[in-house]
Symmetry: C2
Subunit: 252 residues, 2 copies
């Protein structure tokens, strides 16, 4: 399949590499910033442009990987109304003028770090069956885990990812700040974090919950709240999360 | 060193194995429950008892690994007032009658899963220097990461661990419930969770924060809160965590 990439960030970069590896013909990269389009063009050894009017009309599929804020704008300026344009966002709507589908790799990408796409689930959504089929087949050429979603499911997936990843990372940042306040290194708890996430690979998370809240260990809970007395925001977080753990157990 | 174990749970089991592996003479295990003391006694091929009055007086060190609620009770009944008794708890005080020190492996243990102690940090606290020295040397015989703490630091460490591990695990449980509501499998986001925790092994957590809150992407934040409309507790958590991410960035 001939594919053009619109965007030059981490998703476009890693996806471009994975598509080439799978034997697809990535023919061009466009990015608003000439320098960025050049960078990715050179990485993939393909032509590049920062001018939408110079976009090649030869591709079968145009994959738009830009930050959510620009999807509507760029989709509206996309010059080939008969061609397939899809975005890669977990949170943007399918109902955007010019967009025919969603090709959403459920992973967070960093520039420096190489990625093995074969383990990354890709969520597919299409305006019609034929688009969904085409995107599913494309996804199956780079990963073993492909799932078709509707928009409600994709939103649930994105909200769940915010809880499990963005919010967890923030809790690591909170832990880091508590430790630094006592001249302790975050490395001290990294093995504990690693073990916690190891467990959920083979157990439902609620079934491996540990800590003072699930034990209803009020003495420890009180002593921790006392410790956080001067940090009203962290204290509030501690209370709400502990209460939520207790409520979850009741419902389970 | 001759060591006796008081307790037969996951900490006592894994610690007992690690101490034997390091060549220490683990001479006896005591547990309130005869069956449990027998189980661990057989695993370690050593004598066992559920009767404190049958505890051997021959050990140089008695390691008390029971749930926090029982530490005070058992320490008060410990029959050898001249002998060293230490507990392994992250949250219990050093100021407990009968307790001379703390030997706290900073890890969560499961019965089924074998553990490589050499990567597990052990936090040491002693009533005096000689106890701290003895415990540090013992710790260094089973791990490369030993840290001496005071009680305030140990509390900080425990609170940090609650945020980074117990609360993160709860957020995984929340994500799991959101996904299940839409007939989606938690496995879909496990690679994302793994990558999130991989990043913090080499970066300060706050520096790799991603998601709508740190981007101040109000459209996505609103749409997620709308999605959580019927789940007031989760909505509250989402709001508080998002606000905390934004506040943290301001302070940084």
């Amino acid at each position: 399949m001939k594919i053009a990439l619109l965007g030059s960030g981490n998703v476009a970069t890693h996806l471009g590499k994975a598509l080439q590896l799978a034997g697809h013909h990535v023919i061009q990269v466009w990015s608003r910033t000439e320098e960025h389009s050049k960078r990715l063009g050179e990485i993939l050894s393909i032509s590049y442009t920062s001018d939408l009017s110079l976009l090649s009309g030869e591709a079968d599929l145009y994959i738009l990987s830009v930050t959510d804020d620009y999807i509507i704008d760029i989709a509206s300026k996309f010059p080939f109304k008969q061609k397939l344009l899809v975005h890669t966002s977990g949170s943007s709507s399918l109902d955007i003028r010019g967009i025919s589908g969603v090709f959403y790799p459920i992973q967070t990408f960093s520039r420096q770090k190489e990625v093995d796409f074969s383990n990354i689930p890709i969520a597919i959504e299409g305006k019609d069956e034929s688009v969904a089929d085409l995107l599913s087949n494309l996804a199956l050429s780079i990963t073993t885990k492909v799932i078709r979603l509707n928009s409600e499911q994709r939103k649930a997936l994105h909200v769940a990812a915010v809880f499990a990843c963005n919010f967890s990372n923030h809790l690591y940042a909170v832990a880091d700040s508590i430790l630094r306040n006592q001249n302790l290194d975050f490395d001290l708890i990294v093995p504990l974090v690693a073990e916690t996430t190891e467990k959920i690979k083979s157990n439902p998370p609620a079934s491996v919950q540990t800590g003072p809240a699930i034990r209803k260990d009020q003495i420890t809970l009180d002593s921790h709240l006392q410790f956080l007395e001067k940090h009203s925001e962290l204290k509030e977080l501690y209370k709400l999360l502990s209460q939520s753990i207790i409520n979850f157990e009741r419902k389970a």
